[in-house]
Each structure stands twice: as C-alpha cells, then as structure tokens.
Amino acid sequence: MVSPCLDTREHDIDWQALVLSLQLASVTLLLLLPAGLLLARWLAYTAFKGKYLIEALVVLPLVLPPTVLGYYLLVSLGGASAAGQWLSQHVGVSLAFHFSGLVLASVIFNIPFLVQPIQRAFEAIPANLGEAAAVSGLNAWRIFWRIELPLAWPGVLSAMVLTFVHTLGEFGVVLMMGGSIPGETRTLAISIYDRVQAFDFESADRMALLLLLLSLLAVAASFFATARLGRRR
C-alpha cells in the first residue's frame, strides 16, 4: 500500500486550490455586486405587499444547510434535469461538477451576505437627503452616484468583504455541486477536507491557517476602512 504521505508535494499548500478559491470569490463578487446593489436599494426604498416574502427568500441561504441548497441546485441544474440538458445542448455548458456551476451556487449562496448589509446601509440614509438632492436639481442617477452610494459605501464595502471571504471558505455547496476535481472545482476548503481525510494534517494545518489569516486580514481591513469613513462624518 502506498500512503499518500509518501508524496512530498502533498505536504505543501494546494496552491491550485487557493488560486481557484480566489478566482471563485472574485467572479462571484463581480457577478453578484451589481444585481445585489440594485436588489438591496430596491428593498430599502420600496414598500409593497409581500416584501417580507422577498426578504425571507434573500435570507434563506443563510439559514438553510449548504448541502440542501447544493442538493437542489444539483437536482434542478444537473445533467439529468431538463434545465441541465437544455443548457448543455443549447449553451454548451454543463453546470454540475464544473467551475461555472460553482459560480452559480456561490452567487445564490452569497445573496444574504451581500444584500443584507447593503440594504441596511441604504435604509440608514435619511430620506430627506434624496429629496433635498432632487429639489437641488439632481436626477435619480446623480442622486445614486453622488449621495446614496457614498453614504452607503461603508456598508457596501463590508458586504463585499464578507461575500469574498465567505466564498473563499465555502464548503458544503461547493462539495455538492462541484465535487473535488483539481483545477476545476477543488477549492481550498475542499482541499483541506481531502487532506484531513487522507490524514495529511501537516498540509491541512498550513492551508487552514492560511485561510484563517486571509479571512481575518480582510475583515479587519474592512472594519478599519469603515471606521475611517465613519469618522469623516
């Protein structure tokens, strides 16, 4: 029997997985940010019947076990499903066990992490500021760029960091949707899990520490920036 420990490369950090995780986090954030901003602003400023249902849907990924979400995505978009077959035939994309599937799953899984802080930030802007801007002649677009976005920026920034870091460390959904294909779907968190399964605690240790430090650094940096922005006021 050959122990995996004999392979010296296995003791090191899985750089490929780290790069993949960073790619996944960046793409997820880029795709989710514009839609999330619009959704958050809409929820913050609009009152309508059934708003609670939409807000509950937004929060759902936060309370649902990631495996449940991953399972539904796999079943509804996997190769055996109608949507999955349509996608592979007409678009040439198969989502299951593929990077694009991970991206989709991450985007959905991160909706509450991005939308909620931004929604709160928009809600915290006094309503009469927008009115004052309108009376001063600013159209809706200028009000958004010059007033709302700068004032909501600390919230937007922390939402972005939260989403990024959360995607870096994502496990359940990724495992269900993507499995553990090196270079395609094996993210850092999955890689750590694999190493532990293989009793390679040495590299699991290193990667876990790396993930911990990266996350801590990002969150601390966002807190620092938010506090600085807050002081300006």
Binding site: N128, E131, V135, G137, L138, R232, R233
Partner: protein, 385 residues
C-alpha cells in the same frame, strides 16, 4: 400680466388621501407668507406639494405663467425642473460633503470651477468664513448649518423659496441674526417666500401674510393684523391664540334702544347657555341675519384702556364701555406684564390684557380697577355647528 403677477405663486389644492389637504392661497414676489397651525395641520405636506415632492390628488400650482402642477391636465413637474429652493427642517445637508460642495450640488449644470466659486460667494453672503466653508456639516453649529442650507436653496436661483420650520432648531441668538439675514434676502430677491412655522410670534414678526391651517384645511388667509383682528371663526381665533374670546347672542336691532344704520346689538354672555348678559353696540357687517343666533366674539388688546383712576357708570355709553374688574393674576414677561382680570359684569368672565410702560406699575394683584373697552374693536363670528 404685470411684473407682480408674472412671479406670483398661486396654489389651489383639494385632496382627501393619503391625508386631507384643502385650500387655496397666493403669495406675491417679495412677500413672505407663513403657514401656521398646530402640528399635523398639513403645513409641511403643503410645502412638499409646492416643491413637487408630493403628488396631490387635485391641485393647481403656478408661479407666474409657469404651471408647476395642474392635475386637471395631468401635469406634474418633478422637483428637478421647478427651480424651487427648499430649506428642510433639519437642513438635510449631505453629511459627506463640506459646506462648499453642499452648495455647489445645486449648480451641477455649471462647470466645476464656476460652481465652486459661486458656492463660496453664496456662503460668504450668508456669513460663513472661508474656514467654515471647508467644514463638514457635523463640524458646523446649527445656525451655520442653517445658513448652508439657505445658501444651497438660493444657489439654484429659485423662483420660489420654501422654508420648513427654519428657526426651530437654532438658539435664540442665531435666530435673531437669521431673521435679519432673511429680511435682507427678501428685499434683494423679490420672489415669493413661504415659511412653515408653529411659532405664532415668529410668524407675526416675519410674515406679511398668514395662512392658518388646521386638519389639512386652509381656514383663513390674510395679513397678521387682519387675522388677529377679524379671525374667520372661533377655531382660527383659537389657533392664532387670541386671548379674549367670549360667548354672545346676536340681537340685531332689537336691543335696549334704536340704533343708527350699520350698527347692531350684541349680548355679551358669561357662558354659552346664559339667559341674559350685557348689551353691546357693535358694527353690523351684514354677515349675521338670525335674531338670537349664538355667536363667538373677540376683541384685540388695542380695544382696551386700563384706567384705574376713572370711575364712570358702565352703562352710559355703549360704544365705549367702562368695565369694573379685579386683577386676579399678574405675570411679568420681561418688558411687559400679562394681567388676568375678573370682571364684575358679566360675572365669571375673565379678561387677558398685556400691560406695558407705566401702566404695569400702577396695577397690583387683588386691586380693583376699571377698564374701558372700545366696542369698535369687537369682531363677531358665527358659531360653527
């Protein structure tokens, strides 16, 4: 159309939801109109309709020949196109922009350098130093923030200036200097200015015209002097705080003796259900027709003269009546005193008088005095049922 009409604000509103709002008024250029009334009277909503922030059910708002809102024709100009300056109650300055940028925000149609220069000019005119101009709103005092808000409203070169409780959040000293500033502006700008306030003294001091509102309805429009002398009804008298308001019965020409043309008898009742009272001879404006109709009447302080030395039979002259009273309370309010008098007749009736100068030193609590009342200052209103 002459130049005055060309810039006059005209408002006519009627709506029932989301909140009732009804009435019409106008404001000439250079004129300052104060919307007064208790909180919840719809003053701020009225202002928001004028600014275009609120979509009224049925309304017509125009400034000169520009129609800003005409629901009959489906026209509602957004606030961006109205050229209206609005000073919000809590200033609504952008917290992330310094004073200059806040003012420049209202001039985005100009090139950057030009709008910053103009913003600095406006702020200087409002009395902010170059150092204060660079500060964020949070680092300015309430009075200074108010000046920035005013500069921002004026930077748009508005055709109508609106101010919502502009002095409620500033201290007494800044308030007085702001009064002066606004008086100067009013002279220079020559546009209609509409002010919302719940402070009647402020409204009387500053405004040429009052619009009294209650429960969303415009009850009366007129100069402060006119409204205080002739409130349209008891509610208006109540809202503007006319102290001497009494019950009465309209007797027309059926009084103690025949009256010349244009005069009528008013019976002064100690309370609404009283059987009889004191007959007073008042001007007949032809508004009241029914004999014995219950009325409310008011009389301004100008109609009274305190003369503790004079004693005369109260019934001799009905146009100038001399009343006997006891001073039941005397309250000093700085340079004036507020006296409450208990009248001998009609018994149980109280009179509130403001005394100033030597008058106030000749009067003491508990003292018996006589007061002459000039019935020409009496204003009679029908009781609303």
């Amino acid at each position: 159309m002459n130049t005055e009409q060309a810039m006059e604000l005209q408002v006519d509103i009627s709506q029932t939801s989301p909140m009732p709002l009804r009435g019409s008024f106008s404001c000439a250029p250079g004129q300052m109109l104060a919307l007064v009334g208790p909180s919840g009277a719809g003053k701020t909503s009225m202002l928001r309709v004028l600014a275009g922030l609120l979509h009224p059910e049925n309304a017509r708002v125009s400034v000169g020949s520009d129609i800003w809102c005409d629901t009959a024709q489906g026209l509602h100009m957004p606030p961006q196109q109205r050229r209206v300056g609005l000073v919000f109650q809590n200033y609504a300055l952008m917290p992330h922009m310094n004073a200059v940028d806040n003012v420049a925000l209202a001039m985005l149609h100009l090139p950057s350098a030009q709008r910053l220069q103009q913003a600095r000019d406006w702020l200087q005119r409002m009395g902010l130093t170059p150092d204060q101009q660079q500060r964020l709103p949070a680092l300015l005092s309430g009075g200074q923030q108010q000046r920035v808000a005013l500069a921002r409203a004026l930077a748009r070169q508005p055709r109508l200036l609106l101010m919502d409780e502009p002095f409620s959040a500033v201290d007494q000293m800044s308030r007085r200097s702001l009064y002066g500033l606004i008086a100067d502006l009013r002279r220079d700008l020559h546009i209609p200015i509409v002010l919302v306030t719940h402070d009647l003294n402020e409204a009387r001091q500053l405004a040429d015209k009052l619009v009294v509102m209650d429960a969303g309805e415009v009850l009366q429009e007129g100069t402060p002097a006119h409204i205080y002398r002739s409130p349209r009804n008891a509610r208006v008298a109540d809202l503007v705080g006319i102290p001497n308001r009494f019950h009465g019965r309209w007797l027309g020409n059926r009084g103690p003796h025949a009256l010349p043309e244009g005069f009528a008898w008013l019976e002064w009742l100690p309370h609404a259900d009283a059987k009889s009272g004191l007959a007073l001879m008042v001007k007949d404006k032809g508004r009241l027709k029914t004999w014995g109709q219950p009325v409310t009447w008011v009389i301004q302080g100008d109609g009274f003269q305190v003369n503790p030395l004079l004693t005369e039979d109260a019934t001799t002259d009905n146009q100038r009546l001399v009343l006997q009273a006891q001073v039941s309370a005397l309250r000093s309010l700085g340079e004036i005193s507020l006296a409450t008098l208990a009248l001998d007749e009609p018994a149980g009736t109280q009179l509130q008088l403001t005394l100033s100068g030597t008058q106030r030193h000749n009067v003491q609590t508990g003292q018996q005095i006589s007061v002459s009342m000039d019935c020409r200052w009496i204003h009679v209103m029908p009781v609303r049922r």
